[in-house]
């Protein structure tokens, strides 16, 4: 059962990690917490589900989902964060919470309150290894997430745009002085963070077969915790944080009690923060 629970935890953790990457990138570069990250995730899921229902084309649906998430992310940056940039840190925070409430209410108005199923059935095929079972969808979730993380790392470390983002994150004034377009770096960050959350939303819409306006709330909170757990601002930290959180809550539920499944995620968070206040890989 241990191995099985590890697999379950890893699949959930990968999704937390994807959303946590959005939190951590935006925090790293802007110093703000984007509490609307869960809503971006939800719009990604809706974009894919609605497109698939209309066209029946899975590839198109995935593209549309990511596009929807990116659009929401860019609009957020433009209308919720840019006007309040440089103000007291509480102000962008309130703006983010407001945007989050607005976006989920808007989704309820546009899409209706009901859960939607994913308009495509997947074969419940699964692979056996060492007594544990991994379903095809779980495997897809883990592989896609890992591939995206590697791509993100390559982008940030090897491309010019990626390096520009890293430079702005280190010191935006110095970056500006050396000729980097800071606004463009902000927009790219939001685009990347939103795309990751959008993919996470689409994967979950497939896996759980339910897309709803409030689906972003809980994953949003957990991913936020994952980002803190790993050390806010650190990209490998967000990945580790997400995986640790996913595995911790599954093992907690398995060996202690499922009545407190969510609590285990947050207990893990508190424990790490007591021992290491800046998170697993956080900078000083």
């Amino acid at each position: 059962m241990l191995l099985q629970q590890l697999v379950n935890g890893l699949a959930a953790g990968c999704v937390y990690a994807l959303v946590a990457l959005g939190y951590t990138m935006i925090f790293g570069i802007l110093g703000i917490v984007n509490f609307a990250q869960g809503e971006i995730y939800m719009y990604g899921a809706f974009g894919a589900v609605l497109t698939l229902a209309a066209t029946g084309n899975l590839v198109l649906a995935i593209v549309a989902g990511i596009a929807a998430a990116c659009l929401v992310g860019v609009l957020l940056e433009r209308f919720a964060f840019r006007p309040v940039r440089g103000m007291h840190p509480l102000i962008p925070l309130i703006s983010a919470i407001g945007a989050s409430i607005f976006l989920s209410s808007l989704a309820r108005l546009i899409f209706g309150p009901e859960d939607r199923s994913f308009p495509m059935e997947f074969h419940p095929h699964s692979y056996q290894f060492f007594g544990a079972e991994i379903t095809e969808l779980q495997l897809v979730i883990i592989l896609v997430s890992l591939a995206l993380m590697v791509m993100l790392w390559l982008f940030l470390n090897l491309t010019k745009h990626g390096k520009a983002i890293m430079a702005v994150a280190m010191d935006s004034d110095a970056a500006k002085l050396s000729g980097i377009n800071v606004n463009a770096a902000y927009v790219t960050t939001f685009l990347l963070g939103s795309a990751m959350s959008g993919v996470a939303g689409i994967l979950m819409a497939m896996y759980y077969n339910a897309t709803a306006p409030n689906m972003g709330l809980l994953p949003g909170l957990k991913a936020f915790s994952a980002a803190i757990l790993g050390g806010v601002g650190s990209i490998p930290g967000a990945i580790i944080g997400g995986l640790v959180l996913g595995v911790a809550e599954n093992l907690g539920a398995a060996y202690l009690s499922s009545h407190f499944k969510d609590a285990f995620a947050f207990i893990a968070l508190v424990l790490v923060l007591i021992i290491r206040p800046r998170g697993i890989l956080g900078r000083q």
Binding site: E121, N209, N214, A254, H259
Partner: protein, 375 residues
């Protein structure tokens, strides 16, 4: 000249006020507190049920010539919000009767106030046994959860031959209450529940709990909760290779459940308060009106049961006002004595606790993607 204008304006305002007063006097207002934002997939059908009833009543000339008007408030899935909605309806809109709230916890929060103010409240689907003792001004339109539990567990024992049930419940007051009650009911029938797990509202990943349940063999998987969680839970269970019979509470009685759970819903057993094929002219009229609304808008949630209950309750209340008068005690005089009211959820009466009395609980089974009545 200016003074003259002022005078004309004052006169118009006074006249206007007088007119609106006069128009208001031709209306009878009732209130409704329903789940219009959180849980709107249940609350909107309930609202439609009220609206269909009101439309019919008004088309037939209203209540003794006066038009019936309903003021809707949002329950917001919270007791404080329900109390605020109640206070607004009673103190500002001066209603004497309220349909709602829908959730047991919120009914119990509003009931003491209704009792104090002598306002009739009719909850369409608060199932908690505690509502029976909440006061003589509190009525309810569905069967208590303990009676639902008794008939479902009896069915499990007699027809499904269950011997080793497990429970996977929603960790909030409703699911927790179901867990306690069903465990008790199974025990009374000599069937011990072999293991129990729970999940949170909003959870979509049940693999930890299901993996744990799979450790011991069982023959019935009972999942009490709301369909937003129970449907994904059963589909995940089937994907993990769990083949045991599945069973749920009356919230699973919705086309949405079958849509979300897909093939995993096949064979699922749940109870219900409403039988669509109940063969009366009233039910046919109601069904036509309801499905017309559902078909007209793709975003409209489809749940005939929740609409049926509020439809019945609205008609009961309006008949009470029409025959006995609009004061709360006059309405009670009707509701306490009504016998075999021609409702769409059955022939309705109320017992001494204000709980609806009808033919009993229906039990449905999902066969080829459709609900089929088995009892």
């Amino acid at each position: 000249m200016q003074r003259l204008w002022l005078l004309v304006m004052v006169a118009m305002v006074v006249l206007g006020l007088g007119l609106s007063e006069a128009r208001a006097a031709e209306e009878i207002k009732i209130g409704a507190i329903l789940r219009l934002s959180q849980g709107a997939s249940d609350g909107l059908p309930a609202k439609r049920g009220v609206e269909i009833a009101v439309k019919e009543i008004n088309a037939a000339g209203g209540i003794n010539g006066k038009q019936l008007k309903v003021i809707f408030e949002d329950e917001k899935d919270s007791a404080p919000a329900s109390v605020a909605a109640y206070q607004k309806l009673v103190s500002m809109d001066k209603v004497k009767v309220i349909i709602g709230p829908m959730m047991s916890g919120n009914v119990l929060a509003v009931a003491p106030l209704a009792q104090r103010d002598k306002i009739v409240i009719v909850t369409p689907n608060g199932t908690s046994p505690k509502i029976s003792d909440a006061g003589e001004y509190v009525y309810r339109g569905c069967t208590r959860i303990d009676k639902q539990a008794a008939s479902l567990t009896k069915y499990a024992k007699e027809s499904l031959k269950t011997t080793k049930p497990v429970i996977l419940y929603s960790n909030e007051p409703y699911g927790k209450g179901c867990n306690d009650l069903f465990t008790k009911c199974f025990a009374e029938l000599g069937i011990p529940v072999i293991s129990t797990e729970s999940f949170m509202v909003g959870d979509r990943d049940f693999s930890a709990q299901l993996t744990k349940l799979k450790q011991k063999p069982f023959d019935l998987l009972f999942i009490p909760g709301y369909l937003q969680e129970t449907a994904p839970a059963i589909s995940q269970a089937r994907r993990m290779g769990i083949t045991a019979q599945s069973m749920g509470v009356f919230g699973d009685m919705a086309p949405k459940y079958i849509e979300l759970a897909g093939k995993a819903s096949e064979g699922h057993i749940n109870c219900s308060e409403y039988d669509e094929d109940y063969n009366t002219p009233t039910n046919k009229k109601f069904k036509d009106a309801y499905y017309k609304i559902v078909k007209a808008d793709t975003k409209e949630p489809n749940n005939a049961m929740f609409a049926a209950i509020t439809y019945d309750m609205t008609r009961l209340v309006s008949t009470a006002i029409a025959t006995k008068g609009g004061a709360p005690d006059q309405m009670r005089g009707y509701l306490d004595t009504v016998k075999d009211f021609d409702g769409v959820t059955g022939k309705l009466s109320f017992d001494n606790n204000g709980d609806v009395v009808k033919q009993g609980v229906y039990i449905f089974k999902v066969v080829k993607g459709k609900y089929v009545k088995v009892k």
